[in-house]
């Protein structure tokens, strides 16, 4: 049933139409990937639903509902609440600094009654929404105007700094990458981009000397030479590579991964779960999984390109790239190509807040798709 163009352009879409318009192929892909994730959690627990797989499945069902609801909400509503959402997320981040409890040696969690929240996760969504909203009002020329460029840079810099002092290097990188990617897509001039690369390259030694924590430096050093300390800090990298490599072409088979089952893999249910997948399903399974991820990303790009509003396009690409950055950093780090930074594999690694944030993001992507015909003027404040 094709949408009536005029009504769609103004957002007059019935609930039934919205359900019909949801990209169910993408939803199916996401469900399959998350199903693989649950199966992996079942595997690394030694073939048990406890302690991770069952909880993750329940969280996925919850996340699935959120995704559908978010997809049904008019894109202009998200435009409207983008700044408040960002403000609340920023406040939560501040809160975790002030009264957060120690967890894994870093302040990342906030206790809200019975709930434990990682405010850095909603911030990844909030930064996309808020930047998309801001950049929606900017022409290509505006984006590169120094004064107008300052605003998005502050919007990126504040949460990035707050997350960085937690300290949480991985999320800092994701937030910064998300923000920069959106600036790039909004048309930031190459005259800004190329010199910035130069400055960043020059800043690396300074950051090494003054900014990075010892444990972060240790990760880099052991990455560069894991065999130097094969039983100590290099253990993770060495064992992860052994797990992936020993999977060979066809893998050892489901539940047959010895590296994780015998606890040679560190953080096997979170950051390093990909290595267990690689061990059990081998090269064939990994490539199949990469193809699934690739199709999801392709859907994201296609949705972004087909959206009529700049806000929708930026949100869609923001969510898609956010998903990609997760896969990229996690994949590169567990296979020993970059130092270990705490980034999970999206949809697969265990972790409730991260899963919900990713599902929320896909909800936004679907919302962009459902409301792709909605036209939002550049100067619109977003109020319907």
């Amino acid at each position: 049933m094709p949408l009536r163009p005029y009504a769609a352009a103004h957002g007059h879409i019935s609930v039934a139409d919205k359900l019909y318009e949801i990209n169910w192929g993408l939803v199916l892909l996401i469900t399959i990937i998350a199903g693989v994730g649950v199966a992996m959690l079942y595997s690394v627990a030694g073939g048990s639903w406890d302690p991770w797989a069952s909880k993750q499945a329940i969280k996925f069902v919850f996340g699935f509902a959120i995704m559908i609801v978010v997809a049904m909400v008019d894109i202009r509503v998200w435009l409207n609440i983008a700044y408040p959402f960002y403000a609340v997320s920023l406040l939560l981040l501040l809160g975790v600094e002030l009264m957060g409890m120690a967890h894994l040696g870093a302040q990342r969690w906030l206790s809200l009654g019975p709930l434990e929240l990682q405010p850095s996760e909603p911030m990844k969504i909030a930064i996309i929404l808020a930047l998309a909203k801001f950049l929606h009002g900017q022409s290509v020329e505006d984006v590169s105007t120094p004064l107008k460029l300052l605003v998005p840079l502050i919007m990126i810099g504040l949460p990035a700094a707050l997350v960085a002092i937690q300290p949480n290097l991985g999320t800092t990188i994701i937030i910064a990458l998300d923000g920069c990617a959106l600036l790039f897509l909004a048309g930031l001039s190459w005259w800004w981009i190329i010199p910035t690369f130069g400055v960043v390259a020059a800043a690396v030694p300074v950051a090494w000397r003054f900014v990075l924590h010892d444990y972060q430096k240790a990760r880099v050093l052991t990455f560069l030479n894991p065999e130097s300390d094969a039983l100590g800090a290099g253990w993770n990298i060495t064992q992860a590579k052994i797990a992936v490599g020993s999977g060979g072409a066809a893998g050892k088979g489901f539940l047959q991964g010895t590296q994780s089952r015998l606890n040679f893999l560190p953080e096997k249910q979170t950051d390093f779960i990909w290595t267990n997948f690689a061990e059990e399903f081998g090269f064939v399974g990994c490539i199949a999984m990469l193809i699934l991820f690739g199709v999801v990303l392709g859907y994201g790009v296609q949705i972004a390109m087909s959206a009529r509003s700049q806000f929708g396009r930026l949100v869609a690409m923001g969510v898609t790239l956010n998903f990609f950055f997760y896969i990229m950093i996690n994949g590169l780090m567990v296979m020993g190509l970059i130092p270990v930074v705490g980034i999970p594999m999206p949809l697969i690694s265990y972790g409730g807040t991260a899963l919900l944030a990713v599902m929320f993001g896909f909800g936004l992507l679907l919302s962009v798709h459902v409301h792709r015909q909605v036209e939002i003027p550049r100067h619109s404040t977003g109020i319907i």
């Binding site: 089952r261 015998l262 990609f324 990229m328 296979m335 550049r378 100067h379």
Partner: protein
């Protein structure tokens, strides 16, 4: 203001362009991920597979049970018992190893030395290795730890095997002990068992001599382990082959009796069967508790053992070479009989002069022994008589007789570290000191002083040969596993029956009225013993000491007093048991004679040589090769 303008169009074009660029970049990264997977899984998959298997599979040695040591009647002298242990794996001690050890210390007794040793062991071992906290726990202690195990992260319990010596110090010098292999052992022996923590190696006595036989063959077990080294399951196993049992000729009861009899002295004693050479008791006191060496002896105890002036770590029976003193006169009497001096009569006035040196008889204060023949010479141990014998025989004939009795060379007993003593000769002295033999040297040697040195074992062999008239040699091991130990069958001594009888009669007279051992004779009819006393001077009492009131040996400090010796056999008419005994630096007169009397009496009453043995193979079923 229009809803949409040209600026919108340009930014849409820019967005599309840049989205396509980013898509290309994403594809590039995916290509990198795929390429890395290809590199790890396809190109290097086999190597990583090997690494994963090495991670997962651990080859563990299965210690073979060590062979037992048994006496002639099947009594277990060294055996294995269950060893209840508490161990710690530092990697799993989530609250720190010190906390874990302290917690164990609240459940069982752990002194600070032990704690320090455990911490040291942890520091030198791998994080996933099991380091013993306490071994040989009682069942009750073991059960208590097991009960608390859930609250002791990192602590595990297991049951191994440990060597046990039920008779402790009573058998220490005979059996030796077992201890962890040291660097030298590992270099000498390429058995991979030696490098295993917890493996124990024979370190002395029978344990050392027959270590290879008793050790057995290691088994192997391929187990799957997790990252903490915990065994998940066994994949395959090659069982170990148990070590062989060693059957000794020792009689446990006699050994224990002899040890108890001499426990307070620094002494050595051997009892032999004069017909077969079977060693029935082999005692060196003081001993040590070999059980202490299993776990690792504490430094305090070790230093005590090392610096004790009674030398508890030295097996005096075969490592102590003493001047045999007057016990040597038995050999000299035989030499005299064999060389035409059977009718020699000597007048002992207490001293004699050779060249410009005056030689004294021990009875010089009483004015000597008067007229002495060979029989009386032995009975009263007249020095002057044997000086005269030595003067007339010369060292060559003396040496020949002594060597025929086995002096001057190791007996070849199946024990490590035996020394051969010293039976000097003219050529020996010239080679050793570059000085020609002097007639005075012969005189000193004639009474078992001077250069003559013999071990208690050699003296026992000597008296057994005199008693039996055959070249018996001490034999300690009857069979190892199912193999009968070869031995040399004794032949007749190169002495006439008449000579041997004369010497035996002289030795019998020692324990008769007027003899030097009369006070310590065996009075039970039928069990009488014959023998020869001996006193070997460690040091001459000086004139200054004499003036300051030191007149007798017992007034000197312990380690300067004379050694008391005795060799004997019993019963006199039909000798079966020979015994040599030395008590170092004795204070009381002749404690060694009293001890020998008791031991020989006990041996005869118990009569282990005639009791049926419990050996799995009888000597008769498997006659040993005869030499020559």
């Amino acid at each position: 203001m229009p809803l949409f303008d040209r600026k919108d169009k340009s930014r849409y074009a820019s967005f599309t362009r840049r989205t396509l660029m980013l898509s290309g970049a994403m594809s590039g990264i995916f290509a990198v991920l795929g390429g890395r997977l290809y590199d790890l899984q396809i190109l290097n998959g086999k190597e990583y597979m090997v690494d994963a298997e090495n991670n997962r599979i651990s080859q563990r040695f299965v210690f073979p049970p060590r062979g037992r040591i048994l006496d002639r009647f099947g009594t277990e002298l060294a055996t294995n018992r269950r060893n209840y242990r508490a161990v710690i794996v530092s990697e799993q001690a989530s609250q720190g190893v010190e906390t874990a050890i302290d917690s164990v210390g609240k459940i069982i007794q752990l002194d600070s030395d032990r704690k320090a040793k455990v911490l040291h062991d942890i520091s030198v071992n791998k994080k996933f290795a099991q380091v013993p906290i306490a071994e040989n726990l009682s069942w009750e202690e073991f059960a208590r730890i097991n009960m608390h195990l859930p609250y002791l992260p990192g602590v595990q319990t297991d049951v191994g095997e440990t060597r046990a010596y039920p008779y402790g110090a009573e058998m220490s010098h005979l059996l030796g002990y077992v201890a962890a292999a040291n660097q030298k052992d590992v270099e000498k022996d390429n058995d991979p068992l030696l490098a295993q923590p917890g493996f124990r190696l024979g370190k002395g006595g029978i344990e050392k001599q027959f270590d290879a036989e008793m050790r057995g063959q290691a088994g192997a077990s391929r187990v799957e382990v997790n990252a903490y080294g915990r065994v998940i399951r066994e994949l395959s196993a090659v069982p170990s082959a148990a070590g062989k049992d060693v059957w000794l000729t020792i009689d446990c009861q006699l050994q224990r009796y002899a040890e108890e009899r001499l426990a307070d002295e620094s002494a050595a004693c051997v009892v032999m069967d004069v017909e077969t050479g079977d060693v029935l008791a082999l005692v060196s006191t003081p001993g040590y508790d070999p059980n202490l060496f299993n776990v690792g002896i504490t430094n305090n105890v070790w230093q005590d053992l090392l610096h004790n002036d009674h030398k508890p770590l030295i097996n005096k029976v075969l490592r102590g070479a003493y001047p045999p003193g007057s016990t040597f006169k038995t050999a000299m009497a035989l030499a005299a009989m064999e060389n035409g001096l059977a009718d020699l009569q000597v007048h002992c006035s207490g001293s004699m002069t050779l060249g410009n040196h005056e030689f004294h008889c021990w009875a010089w204060k009483k004015g000597g022994h008067g007229g002495v023949d060979l029989h009386r010479g032995i009975a009263v141990s007249c020095d002057i008589f044997f000086y005269e014998v030595a003067r007339r025989l010369g060292i060559d004939k003396m040496e020949a007789a002594a060597r025929a009795l086995g002096l001057g060379e190791p007996t070849g007993i199946e024990m490590p570290g035996e020394v051969g003593g010293c039976m000097p000769g003219a050529a020996w002295k010239l080679a050793r000191f570059g000085v020609p033999w002097q007639p005075g040297d012969s005189l000193s040697a004639g009474i078992g002083q001077g250069y003559v040195l013999a071990t208690p074992l050699q003296l026992c062999q000597m008296v057994a040969r005199i008693a039996s008239g055959k070249t018996v040699t001490p034999r300690l091991v009857h069979q190892v596993g199912s193999v009968l130990q070869p031995r040399v069958l004794p032949e007749d001594l190169p002495f006439s029956q008449e000579s041997l009888d004369a010497v035996r009669q002289g030795m019998t007279a020692v324990c008769e009225p007027g003899g030097t051992g009369f006070a310590w004779r065996i009075t039970q009819p039928g069990f009488e013993m014959a023998g020869k006393t001996g006193t070997a001077q460690v040091r001459v009492i000086t004139k200054a000491e004499r003036q300051s009131g030191v007149k007798t040996d017992s007034q000197l400090t312990w380690n300067l007093r004379d050694n008391g010796l005795f060799v004997g056999f019993a019963p006199v008419g039909n000798p079966r048991y020979a015994c040599a005994c030395i008590v170092e630096h004795n204070a009381a007169p002749h404690p060694q004679v009293a001890a020998t009397r008791d031991i020989l009496l006990f041996a005869q009453q118990r009569d282990p040589a005639r009791k049926p043995t419990a050996y799995p193979i009888r000597a008769a079923e498997n006659p040993p090769p005869r030499e020559g």
